[in-house]
């Protein structure tokens, strides 16, 4: 469990963090997407049209802040020391001057670009985890986030063809995903909604019964791949025993509830009530029961239409990613910037490497107080990067740069050049006529 370091999060530490460690220039380089260069194809107004939003102490919200370069952002953040920094969309015009356009007509001030974002929050899994609930996470339930990263990241790359994807720990109980390809940034709300729906399997709310319903003679290839490559293994090798999904009556009833055939459910119930007494087996009780469940449901006599998908439905219910749909569907949703410090846990929102996400441990993410201690423990030097590398934030920044920022900027540069050359070509042609 991650303890809440309320006392550790003090404003002096935050000031020091912004002063010495926060990677302003990396952040601005990222959201500039190459437009801060010298190339004539660069759109110099681009960064200035991006909304930033600050949350100050005492919950004062400052929306529609905009900055023309890293230095302006840095000065403003150092001055105000926000407890949270959010990044919004790129608008048609400078958002801080939006009132000047409000009168003209209704579309003068509108979002034009925004990363495709996903927000996955552990609280949405409260009905399938028994280790903790609400805002708490631990190493037993964290694999749910690992699954989410694996499933969504794979599909974003293999199905949708995106390349520049940033996964970030949200600081407490979830993960954020930023898809930054040019194509992704220019998606309309409708297209964003379509992608969110493509990923949406879990359809339950507090008052409906069945939360996952899979019909049809086959699973869509995306779901089938996710099932065989990720979900099944994590369910059987990790969550089944980790969460003790079948260990007690209350818990196995939840799974029996999902079997539409009452006679099968009661057959299993009977067996499991008996086996409780005669459990001399060396094998884990969850595993034994799951095998029985699979055997009964998949045996020849029960291959009825409604039961065919039952095993899959159970696995999907307990493992498949649950997205906050509204965040992904609309361009103007704000999302917390990477490298913010979570005000409750004091942990830094560090990037997660999707290729090694199973190694990520939220309980060892550097905290603000830890970083400040590391800063203080050695005499201060002036070199910026040197300072960073002395702290445990160094690795996170290195990861951000090498696996995300550098390839992204290379692609942006190419895109800007190609776009410019194309325009040049076109104008030459039209002159010719």
């Amino acid at each position: 469990m991650i303890p809440e370091h309320e006392s550790v999060f003090n404003s002096n530490h935050l000031k020091l963090y912004y002063g010495k460690l926060f990677p302003f220039s990396d952040l601005v380089k990222w959201v500039s997407y190459g437009n801060d260069g010298k190339h004539p194809g660069c759109d110099q107004s681009y960064i200035g049209r991006r909304e930033f939003s600050f949350t100050l102490e005492n919950d004062i919200y400052l929306r529609f802040q905009s900055f023309n370069n890293a230095l302006e952002l840095e000065n403003s953040i150092k001055e105000r020391s926000p407890v949270k920094i959010d990044i919004g969309p790129v608008y048609t015009v400078d958002p801080s001057k939006r009132h000047a356009y409000a009168q003209s007509d209704d579309n003068a001030f509108a979002p034009v670009e925004r990363e495709l974002i996903f927000d996955i929050d552990m609280t949405d899994y409260d009905d399938v985890r028994y280790c903790c609930s609400g805002a708490d996470v631990c190493l037993v339930c964290w694999p749910l986030m690992t699954i989410a990263i694996k499933v969504i990241d794979t599909s974003l790359r293999d199905d949708l063809g995106f390349k520049h994807i940033l996964w970030v720990y949200s600081g407490r109980r979830g993960v954020h995903c930023w898809v930054c390809d040019g194509k992704a940034r220019r998606l309309t709300n409708e297209q964003r909604g379509a992608i969110a729906d493509y990923f949406r399997v879990y359809k339950g709310n507090e008052n409906s019964h069945k939360k996952v319903s899979l019909t049809g003679a086959a699973l869509h290839p995306f779901l089938a791949t996710s099932y065989t490559n990720v979900l099944k293994n994590y369910f059987e090798k990790n969550l089944l025993t980790g969460q003790n999904l079948l260990a007690t009556e209350e818990r196995y009833e939840k799974i029996l509830d999902m079997i539409p055939d009452e006679s099968i459910a009661s057959e299993l119930r009977g067996r499991w009530q008996d086996s409780r007494r005669s459990s001399s087996a060396k094998e884990d009780i969850n595993v034994v029961r799951w095998e029985q469940c699979k055997q009964v449901l998949q045996s020849g006599k029960h291959k009825a239409q409604g039961l065919r998908r039952c095993i899959e439905e159970i696995v999907f219910s307990f493992t498949y990613p649950r997205l906050d749909m509204e965040v992904s569907k609309h361009m103007n949703h704000l999302l917390k910037a990477p490298f913010c410090v979570h005000p409750k846990t004091g942990r830094v929102c560090v990037p997660i490497d999707p290729n090694r996400c199973e190694e990520f441990d939220p309980t060892t993410v550097p905290t603000l107080s830890q970083l400040i201690e590391e800063l203080n423990s050695e005499g201060s030097r002036t070199d910026d990067d040197g300072e960073l590398n002395r702290t445990s934030l160094g690795n996170a920044i290195t990861l951000f740069r090498s696996s995300f920022l550098q390839p992204l900027l290379k692609a942006c540069k190419e895109e800007i050049e190609n776009c410019y050359n194309l325009k040049l070509q076109q104008s030459k042609n039209s002159l010719g006529w």
């Binding site: 007509d105 579309n107 063809g161 379509a194 879990y202 008052n207 049809g216 003679a217 649950r322």
Partner: protein, 561 residues
């Protein structure tokens, strides 16, 4: 002033189609360069609205007697039972499309055949003007025009469909044999997941996935490396999406022109027509609270029990129980209460009283009070937000821990029964409600609940939670059963029905078989009781029984809107 003789005028739109021999469908790329008589301006528009109306009817089965112009409309699920009960010799029956085609033709027709296309295009551009002016109007118009486009596109020959694709400059080529073989397994898998037969010999197009959002959303295509494999029979989705997005952009431009110049220039001529055409369709949005009364904090509890629709009652109860609601629930209930007349101070007090029990006073003021003030237009961009309509609530997607949404749609049957029972609905009415839910008529289910609780019919049906509330208050406050006819006539569907059904000598709307038998509609050889007549417009023709039968049909339309 020049008087037009339409048949002497060249058909200005057919030029592009003349070149190719394949007849296609109009794409409305540019406004008609011709003059239109003022009365045509309005009547063409109304005819097109009728056309839209019939498109919505395509989920119904039509029974028509063979010797008259009478028409019977029955929701598809009930049709087979009717057919087996009664001899088919008197009636012919058509499902969806063919009849729609007929009805569309009736409304899109023109006395001179050469003018049919002109009328089509003129009416389209008139409605653009009418429906460009707000987000809601645009949305409705877009969905209607796209439906019409889809419907027409499906009727085209393969050749003509290709011609339309070319008109849109769709650069897509059919997937080659080699590539097809490499992904064949996946394509078959997708087809099977949708319960369709194998697609072994189908033609597929490879299209950037973002151009077929609706196929992506339903997982109806295989997607690989950014490309969706779209089967020939799905291509309508691609073309319709393009049509829709182009029209959407055009509407926004039209709106700009309208606000910047046309409205003022046409102040005395077109503006009144345009405004009348749209306002007669859209109902009130309940952004202003009830004219007469603000409700006070102490009344809420009692009102919640007597006059809240189930969706709000549930949120209210959960709030009292948990002292907390997630964002979606706070929005849905909060804006409803605002619409009901709870002022900002009372709203803050109301939410504070509950939330402070769970999260504490300090956290409430820090985290939640802002949002409440925001809803009342006191923070941020200072928009005065409107309460959610049924349509919006039904289409919401409540997730884990959420209590918002439409209970009729989002609850399991078991939970719904318990909830309705908790409101005090008796078991007989309950079965009717559940029956509607099973047929996905959520608003109708809510209407039946209303009627069961208030002991009288709800003439306009329920399409807004705040309407439920105000109708309920009216009944409970005045204890009078009279619901004014004028209000009924204002109801948007009624207006449309009147306009649409004029051409038929008699039209009978039959919600389901039970009613059909009870009223002996079909038994008397298609001659129903006089009061069911709808062919002529006379208020005395609409007693209670007719109003009852009307619901099912009308509220199905709302769902498709």
């Amino acid at each position: 002033m020049e008087i037009f003789r339409p048949h002497s005028r060249k058909n200005v739109f057919s030029s592009s189609n003349d070149a190719s021999s394949v007849p296609t469908i109009p794409l409305y790329r540019s406004a008609p360069p011709l003059e239109v008589r003022l009365e045509d301006f309005e009547s063409f528009a109304i005819d097109r609205l009728r056309g839209f109306f019939f498109l919505r009817l395509s989920t119904f089965v039509f029974f028509a007697s063979s010797n008259s112009k009478d028409l019977l409309l029955i929701p598809s699920p009930f049709a087979p039972r009717v057919l087996t009960t009664y001899s088919a010799s008197h009636i012919y029956f058509s499902r969806g499309f063919p009849m729609v085609k007929e009805l569309l033709k009736v409304n899109m027709r023109h006395q001179y055949t050469s003018e049919v296309l002109n009328k089509d295009i003129i009416s389209h551009f008139v409605l653009r003007l009418v429906y460009c002016r707000t987000e809601d109007l645009r949305k409705w118009f877009l969905s209607m025009e796209s439906a019409l486009f889809r419907y027409r596109f499906r009727l085209l020959s393969a050749e003509a469909q290709k011609a339309v694709m070319e008109e849109f400059n769709l650069p897509y080529k059919a997937v080659s044999n080699v590539e097809f073989e490499s992904v064949k397994d996946k394509l078959v898998q997708v087809a099977r997941s949708m319960g369709q037969p194998s697609t072994a010999d189908a033609i597929f197009y490879k299209v950037p996935f973002e151009e077929v959002p609706e196929l992506v959303a339903g997982r109806k295509v295989f997607i690989k490396q950014g490309y969706a494999y779209v089967a020939m029979n799905q291509i309508v989705s691609l073309v319709a999406t393009l049509f829709r997005s182009q029209l959407s952009k055009a509407l926004i431009l039209t709106n700009r022109k309208w606000t910047s110049s046309i409205r003022e220039q046409e102040k005395h001529r077109l503006t009144p027509i345009v405004e009348a055409l749209s306002s007669s369709y859209l109902g009130p949005d309940y952004s202003q609270s009830r004219e007469n009364a603000d409700i006070s904090l102490k009344d809420i509890e009692q009102f919640a029990k007597s006059s809240f629709p189930l969706c709000m009652r549930h949120l209210f109860d959960k709030l009292k129980e948990d002292h907390h609601l997630k964002h979606g629930g706070r929005m849905q209930l909060g804006l409803f209460l605002k619409g009901v007349g709870l002022n900002l101070d009372d709203a803050l007090a109301f939410w504070r009283a509950e939330f402070s029990k769970k999260v504490g006073l300090e956290k409430f003021e820090k985290q939640y009070a802002y949002n409440i003030r925001h809803n009342y237009g006191k923070e941020g961009k200072r928009t005065d937000y409107t309460p959610y309509s049924c349509q919006k609530i039904i289409s919401s997607t409540p997730g884990a821990g959420d209590h918002h949404g439409c209970p009729y749609r989002h609850f399991s049957e078991e939970n719904l029964r318990a909830a309705i029972c908790g409101m005090g609905v008796n078991s007989r009415a309950m079965e009717d409600v559940i029956d509607k839910v099973r047929n996905r008529h959520y608003q109708l289910a809510c209407t039946l609940t209303f009627e069961a609780l208030h002991g009288m019919s709800c003439d306009a049906g329920i399409n807004h939670p705040n309407q439920y509330f105000s109708d309920s208050r009216k009944i409970l406050d005045s204890k009078t059963s009279a619901i004014s006819l004028s209000r009924m006539l204002q109801s948007r569907v009624f207006w449309l029905l009147h306009k649409v059904l004029e051409p038929f000598s008699g039209v009978y709307l039959v919600p389901q078989v039970m009613d059909l038998q009870r009223e002996n509609v079909v038994k008397s050889s298609m001659q129903p009781p006089k009061q069911f007549k709808c062919g002529s417009w006379n208020s005395s023709h609409y007693p209670g029984s007719w109003l009852k039968t009307r619901h099912s049909l009308l509220y199905t339309f709302h769902l498709y809107g």
